[in-house]
Subunit: 105 residues, 2 copies
Amino acid sequence: MANDAFAALAHPTRREIVERLSEGASTVGEASHGLGVSKPTISRHLKLLEEAGVVTRVIDGRTHRLALNPETLTDTSDWIERQRARWERLFNVVGEYLEERKEPG
Amino acid sequence: MANDAFAALAHPTRREIVERLSEGASTVGEASHGLGVSKPTISRHLKLLEEAGVVTRVIDGRTHRLALNPETLTDTSDWIERQRARWERLFNVVGEYLEERKEPG
């Protein structure tokens, strides 16, 4: 499990970039327009997202096109979902056990 | 969307604690045994998990019982899943458009 994906998503500016890409943005300009942060800061945020495998970049002449990487997003949400599901099962088993103890014979 | 949940999950020790809780650990000792980190470090990790709403703690006499908070886990995985699904839809729409352009009249 990549540590980096959670760290990459642990900043509101980077989550905003991810949301914009999911809504159709594809250039660095579209993904970062109006965020109120400097170009070097945007570059740093994008570098973290790319290193974590959340975002990929295709260089097309002078245009850098950004894309989300659905595999990394799936791996990350799957890990969380697995913990939640296991917890809920455990919780239900304990609940049933307590219910059974309450009922006589 | 709580920034804190992603940050809380962005450390392997904290993810190990979450996995142990999902598998049935319930005391601080069970959740942190053998991790090779000091008690103050464990306390700091637990504090971050609690502040992010990933873990809750019930004090029962001298025993502190830890529990996962499924709502926070659901919110966090749902956010990721929403971005992925929107991205895949967009990707399919663009793919269909390109396919249509390839086919004559």
